[in-house]
């Protein structure tokens, strides 16, 4: 069945199809439609879940942690300030190995107050032990909720599913809803081996000395490593059922690319138009969209980079005092594998600044004309 859905509602239909059991979320622009639609689904009885009208995002995630520890499928959604407020508990869910799915609408952090697209909010949480997925379409958002639970419940790690503020959250696109029966076959009920169980009492999260902490984190890292393969497998299984595949990365016209654009989220769609424009003009440009940021798909990224001598990395985020987070992760992954292409790191579109194919193409033309970027970041369309 096809519906025309805004990104926020696509996330809701994903949660509905996933038969989530506990929803605990607090409204924040531009996520509010998620909270509202899920409240409606629950009130109508379409979604047989407990909906907790919590009083803050911190409590929202705490409730999800409690619910997930019982073995229920838990869901939440937030954005920017709300995600930041959850920070302590993001660590708790990650290291606590709880397969919660959180949909984050990427919005810039204050101050100054703003509600527009920016990925610093979720990228600033990259160390919390959550898998992270960045979507470019509402179809991908819906599909990714199902894929997220599938993989999360296999590895015992939560997933943060990201979509750009307004560009996806409030933009309507046609979305195909898979049949419930198909989804049920893909995503069975969640039944963890260890849970809060009245018949078998255990303590979760207790005190440790310095003798076992490292081993506990080592196990979580191993789970992250394992997730890379499982994400691929789940993607293949989903493609067999629906015809749609979502993997670790997506490439566009990268064959023989000499300048490789790299981006996450909707900016990738704009970058595709820039690639076409550049190819028309005889510049061998290509695009690598990183879809899964955690675990970081270093091997696959290195393969995709291939022989490209130049990379233009569009970072819709900023780590103050450092630079673009995507560029930093890319550089580390590539250098570790013996690759060191010249990398132009552009801070682009933060705080919702519009990014056009022309500005992206301009940045590539600049990279084409220069031997080396030198050290430091550049700013796309900065007005000073």
């Amino acid at each position: 069945m096809k519906l025309v859905l805004e990104g926020n509602h696509a996330a809701c239909y994903g949660a509905l199809l996933a038969r989530v059991e506990v929803v605990s979320a607090y409204p924040i622009t531009p996520q509010t439609q998620i909270v509202e639609k899920l409240a409606e689904f629950c009130a109508e009885g379409r979604l047989k879940a407990r909906f907790l009208e919590v009083e803050s995002e911190h409590s929202a995630l705490a409730a999800c942690i409690g619910a997930s520890q019982v073995g229920a499928r838990a869901f939440t959604a937030t954005s920017s300030q709300g995600l930041a407020l959850m920070h302590e508990l993001l660590h708790w869910a990650g290291a606590g190995r709880l397969p919660i799915v959180l949909v984050n609408v990427n919005r810039a952090l204050a101050p100054p107050w703003t509600i527009y697209a920016d990925q610093t909010d979720s990228l600033a949480q990259r160390d919390t032990g959550w898998m992270q997925v960045y979507c470019r379409s509402n179809q991908e958002v819906l599909d990714s909720v199902l894929l997220a639970y599938k993989v999360s419940e296999q590895v015992g790690l939560p997933t943060m599913l990201c979509l750009d503020a307004f560009l996806l959250s409030h933009t309507s696109e046609p979305v195909d809803l898979p049949d419930q029966a198909l989804v049920d076959a893909f995503l069975p009920p969640y039944r963890p081996a260890l849970a809060l169980d009245l018949t078998s009492p255990h303590a979760f999260g207790g005190l440790v000395g310095s003798d076992v902490f490292m081993e506990i984190r080592h196990a979580a890292q191993a789970a992250m490593d394992g997730a890379l393969g499982l994400i691929g497998k789940a993607g293949e299984e989903y493609r067999a059922l629906t015809g749609r595949q979502h993997g670790l990365v997506e490439t566009y016209r990268t064959e023989g690319a000499e300048i490789l654009l790299v981006a996450m989220g909707t900016i990738a769609t704009t970058a595709e138009a820039a690639v076409d424009e550049l190819r028309e003009a005889g510049i061998a440009a290509g695009l690598l969209r990183v879809r899964v940021f955690r675990p970081f798909p270093g091997d696959l990224v290195a393969r995709c980079v291939g022989g490209a001598r130049k990379m233009v990395v569009l970072d819709r985020n900023l780590s103050l005092g450092s630079g673009g987070i995507l560029a930093t992760e890319l550089r580390a992954a590539l250098v570790a594998r013996g690759l060191a292409p010249e990398m132009w790191n552009y801070i682009a579109g933060i705080g919702g600044r519009d990014v056009t194919p022309a500005t992206i193409a301009g940045a590539c033309r600049q990279a084409d004309a220069e031997e080396t970027p030198g050290v430091g970041i550049r700013w796309l369309g900065l007005r000073v």
Binding site: E21, V22, S24, K48, A49, R50, L52, E53, V54, E55, S56, H58, S59, A60, A62, A63, C64, I65, G66, A67, S68, Q69, V70, G71, A72, A74, E88, L89, W92, L196, D197, L198, S200, P201, H202, A203, F204, G205, G206, L207, V208, G209, V212
Partner: protein, 320 residues
């Protein structure tokens, strides 16, 4: 001894609840020996009595507090029920999620949110108020040792006026009175709010049982003296707990639906607060004036309580 200048009358004897004698406290232990509490710890006894009152079918959600440590390090657990450690602010919010999950699975479970006074009066208050406003089906237990004792006796808003703590040092001690948590929780109009004392186990267990049978948000405020934090000897803990009740400092009450107030243990003669204060090292520095100030406020609170109980409920058991 009579208190200074004020006589107390017991309230009218009406509708007495069934008294729970010693024989009615279950023998079964849910707390095993070997836990990590200090000698004479009020919190250990509180948990022991709570679990006796609740029995199996109970899930504990415990936020950062002494009990995060008392339960023992991985891979041991001192209690015979499922136990979920939770972040400091989140006893009520985590428990709300646990409760929702059991409910959606159709499993009947008594979900306890256990927090210290820090995790209740201060950093955990938002979550508690939120849960109470929603009426989440949890039994919230505040184990109050009147300070952040797990981290070495810093003040909380539950610390009494003038008390020494490491962050309210002598000579002034704590400059503000204890936050009136019971009034605050009663004002949320939740079905059941009560105080309990580790020195009054029958009253304690009876309240736990009543709370257990009620659906919605229930709040139990337990005074659990802390020997290191209160500067008393371990063997003095129970006597100090008794004095808190017999001097009127910590009345044993229950409040239903925010309005029906009942005093469940009525001291025959209220002792002077000095009996309670002068046996604790954390009050060593108090002047006579300060003790008199405390006496006045205890008197005023007690009179107000009697008035509320008189107009809404019955008197309770007499205690000599």
């Amino acid at each position: 001894m009579r208190s200074m200048g004020i006589g107390y009358r017991a309230g009218p004897a009406r509708a007495r609840m069934t008294a729970i004698g010693h024989a009615d406290i279950p023998r079964e232990e849910y707390l095993s020996p070997g836990h990590l509490a200090c000698q004479g710890c009020g919190a250990a006894l509180a948990m022991r009595l709570l679990l006796k009152g609740l029995g199996s079918g109970t899930v504990l959600v415990v936020s950062a507090s002494c009990w995060s440590v008392i339960n023992g390090p991985w891979h041991a657990s001192a209690v015979a029920v499922p136990f979920l450690h939770a972040a400091f602010e989140t006893a009520a919010s985590t428990a709300a999620g646990v409760s929702a999950a059991f409910a959606i699975r159709g499993i009947r479970a008594i979900v306890v949110a256990w927090a210290g006074d820090g995790g209740t009066f201060d950093i955990g208050f938002q979550a508690l108020s939120g849960a109470a406003e929603r009426g989440d089906d949890i039994l919230y237990v505040c184990c109050d040792n009147e300070g952040y004792m797990n981290t070495g006796s810093q003040r909380s808003s539950a610390t009494p006026l003038y008390a020494w703590t490491t962050t309210t040092p002598v000579p002034h001690g704590k400059r503000r009175p204890k936050k009136p948590i019971l009034e605050i929780m009663a004002a949320h109009r939740i079905p059941y709010v009560a105080t309990a004392s580790v020195a009054h186990p029958e009253d304690f267990v009876a309240k736990v049982r009543r709370a257990r049978a009620i659906e919605g948000t229930r709040f139990l405020h337990i005074l659990a003296p802390c020997p290191p934090g209160w500067r008393i000897l371990p063997e003095e803990m129970l006597q100090v707990a008794r004095l808190a009740v017999s001097t009127g400092v910590f009345p044993l009450v229950e409040i239903k639906d925010g309005a029906r107030v009942r005093i469940t243990v009525m001291p025959k003669d209220i002792e002077p607060v000095a009996h309670y204060i002068t046996v604790q090292g954390r009050f060593d520095h108090l002047t006579t004036d300060e003790i008199a100030t405390i006496q006045s406020s205890v008197d005023a609170a007690w009179m107000a309580l009697l008035a509320r109980a008189g107009s809404s409920g019955s008197g309770g058991r007499q205690e000599g």
